[in-house]
């Protein structure tokens, strides 16, 4: 059988090689999953296969990649950065014009792509107004419209909700059955059992293919996390952190219409809901980045009327995109900013050093923050925001893009700090590994309403 081969590939951005002497073979017409810790070079390998590196960065020191003549297309980790045009329909037109297609085939492919990723309702919506998960579905649809032989997908489901995720993995398996080759990276393994053919594991700059028994073991290991939460008791809602009354969020489409809700103080609340239901928008309202009607109060103070500087010294958000939070150049400078001024008393010098070690960041103190890997950025970002010592932390997808080891590290730190300081934390997440035994309550956003649930 013909194969896609990676032959003794060594690739580096700086002096340190990111990939060292890697040799691999991906069978054509199969579904391959790449797993490994954050920063291990999975994205780099995909970008080399997509022909983007070394053109746009880094250097291939040695070795070759042979796609066996397959037409490829890649979906980036940050889907929002991949679009030239304003709407999905325009983007698909642009792409198909690039490929030299005529109007007839455009209509067929548009219908097929929209159906595949279930984006019929999003076709003419501006991409900038979409949620992270919606953008990922649109990015996938563009690849489907391109009808390539080889799909290179870099964490395509990181912000996609569980229902859509299961659906899309199923769809990808069907594509494979039609003869397409799929190479995909992910940190979450559920949904893949029985669907992927090959599993490759990155470890210490090396990649190994695992045999089918180990593959099934790994893929079934973390299936089905059972969630069980109590409903908040009356006494916890007596002096709440946030109170919503007749709150409406309507940025173009109605996202939230809430008559009464209190969010308890000093507790950790998990916030879930399908893509595009408005979870991030609620955070935007809470951080004065989105206007609302009705009332949203923090500590009996209307958020819209609160003085910015004063309010943000109490309430902070850990953004979905880690670099949004950085203010300086190197890791060391960033830490210095967070230690200045109001700072979390829990993090003494020793505790900070221990935390840096715990997050594997000690060796990166002089590195430019923008050159850290995706997972390292996320870990640093969370540490910085814990150092700042806010009473309220709104955390948007803290775990997306992190491997299990990093999730354990980050959650251990969050738990310690929250326990010591009694912060009010609201977490948006699509993945529950590790969160099920940390969060106190679970709020679900569905049909424009927030409700506390027990599962």
């Amino acid at each position: 059988m013909e194969k896609i081969t990676v032959d003794h590939l060594t690739f580096a951005y700086t002096d340190q090689p990111q990939l060292a002497d890697i040799s691999l073979a991906f069978p054509i017409g199969q579904f391959s999953l790449l797993i490994g810790p954050t920063g291990c070079g999975k994205s780099t390998l995909l970008k080399i296969m997509a022909g983007l590196y070394p053109k746009y960065g880094g250097k291939v020191a040695l070795g070759t990649v042979d796609l066996a003549g397959l037409k490829q297309a890649m979906m980036f980790q940050d889907a929002g950065e991949q679009f030239t045009m304003a709407t999905p329909r325009e983007e698909i037109i642009f792409t198909l014009e690039n490929l030299g297609l005529d109007k007839n085939s455009y209509e067929k492919r548009l219908a097929k792509a929209a159906d595949f990723a279930q984006i019929q309702d999003l076709l003419d919506q501006k991409i900038v107004t979409m949620s992270g998960g919606e953008k990922q579905r649109v990015a996938l649809a563009v690849l489907i419209a391109m009808d390539v032989d080889l799909f290179l997908l870099d964490e395509p489901f990181a912000s996609v909700d569980p229902v859509a995720r299961t659906f899309l993995v199923d769809r990808l398996a069907k594509l494979r059955d039609q003869g397409k080759t799929i190479i995909l990276t992910d940190h979450l393994f559920n949904d893949y059992l029985g669907k992927v053919d090959q599993l490759y594991q990155f470890k210490n700059q090396q990649v190994t293919q695992v045999d089918s028994t180990t593959r099934d073991q790994i893929l079934s290991a973390l299936d089905d996390i059972q969630l069980a939460f109590p409903l908040p008791a009356e006494k916890n809602l007596h002096d709440p952190a946030f109170v919503l009354s007749d709150l409406t969020l309507n940025p173009g489409k109605l996202l939230l219409k809430q008559d009464q809700l209190a969010i308890p103080k000093g507790k950790v609340t998990l916030l879930t809901g399908q893509n595009g239901t408005g979870k991030t928008s609620l955070f935007k309202a809470m951080t004065k980045l989105m206007p609302y009607t009705g009332s949203l109060k923090w500590e009996r103070q209307e958020v819209a009327k609160a003085k910015e500087r004063q309010y943000f010294s109490h309430v902070a958000q850990i953004f979905q995109n880690a670099t949004d939070q950085f203010m300086a150049i190197t890791v060391k400078d960033e830490l210095a900013i967070s230690q200045k001024g109001q700072h979390n008393p829990y993090f003494t010098k020793d505790r900070l050093e221990a935390a840096l070690g715990q997050l594997d960041l000690t060796d990166h103190l002089d590195q430019v923050v923008y050159s850290l890997s995706g997972g390292q950025k996320k870990k640093l970002q969370i540490l910085l925001m814990l150092l700042s010592g806010h009473e309220v932390l709104l955390i948007d997808e803290p775990l997306s893009g992190l491997d299990h080891k990093s999730i354990d590290q980050v959650l251990a730190l969050l738990k310690e700090s929250q326990k010591a300081m009694g912060q009010t934390i609201i977490v948006i997440s699509h993945q529950f590994y590790g969160l099920n035994n940390w969060c106190d309550y679970h709020l679900r956003l569905a049909d424009q309403k927030l409700t506390y649930v027990t599962d």
Partner: protein, 217 residues
């Protein structure tokens, strides 16, 4: 009217009236443009803001041409001041009736400009709202870390430039990943028609402006 011809007409009117002193022509063009904008139901807030900004610029031009000139000439000063309104209003007529996508397509299909230019400009336009949101978010993110970034803070612009640079780099990669190859032929799925009616309007516009500019004071 075809977007490229609209663009050319705007350009010709603006250039021609920059070299030719004819206050009355300027006023006629402004009046026609204003009527067109009102007919197209421009938002009064947008129109007001635009006229206010243009008014400020026109006032500055007028003062330097009349009060602070060694040889003050009222007619000439009024002419150069009214030019500001000509530029603003004719450009508004173009932008209010053409989306950026239509413009890019038309430049590529009708004027045969390199696609790199057409789509590069378009992508840059699409980044503008993103940049505005980014600046707002950078300020909030700063406050959350105890760093207050005023509108003249170097950190704010450093961050904004970083966002722009990384967007530009990602955009180049994004375009390439969606099959774009510089200089390669592209097909046309959405056609921008260029009809004889378009040409007629265009030529009529050019002739009228010329007649006015050379006949009227």
């Amino acid at each position: 009217m075809n977007p490229s011809l609209k663009f050319l007409l705007t350009l010709i009117i603006s250039l021609e009236l920059s070299f030719r002193v004819s206050l009355i022509t300027n006023l006629i063009v402004c009046a026609l443009a204003l009527i067109f904008l009102l007919y197209k139901k421009i938002k009064s807030k947008d129109l007001g803001a635009m006229l206010f900004a243009a008014g400020l610029a026109a006032f500055t031009v007028f003062t330097s041409g009349y009060w602070f000139s060694d040889h003050p000439n009222l007619w000439y000063a009024l002419d150069i001041a009214s030019r500001v309104f000509v530029y603003t209003l004719t450009t508004a007529c173009l932008t209010i009736t053409t989306t950026a996508e239509e413009m890019a397509r038309s430049l590529e299909q009708n004027l045969h400009l390199p696609s790199k230019f057409a789509y590069g400009t378009l992508a840059a336009l699409n980044i503008i709202p993103k940049m505005a949101a980014a600046v707002k978010q950078i300020r909030v993110a700063g406050m959350m870390r105890g760093v207050y970034l005023s509108f003249w803070s170097p950190t704010l612009y450093f961050k904004a430039i970083l966002v722009a640079l990384s967007s530009a780099d990602n955009l180049a990669q994004g375009m390439e990943s969606h099959g774009y190859v510089e200089g390669a032929p592209r097909s046309t799925i959405v056609e921008v028609p260029l009809t004889s009616k378009d040409w007629l309007y265009f030529l009529a516009g050019v002739v009228l402006v010329n007649l006015c500019a050379f006949l009227l004071p």
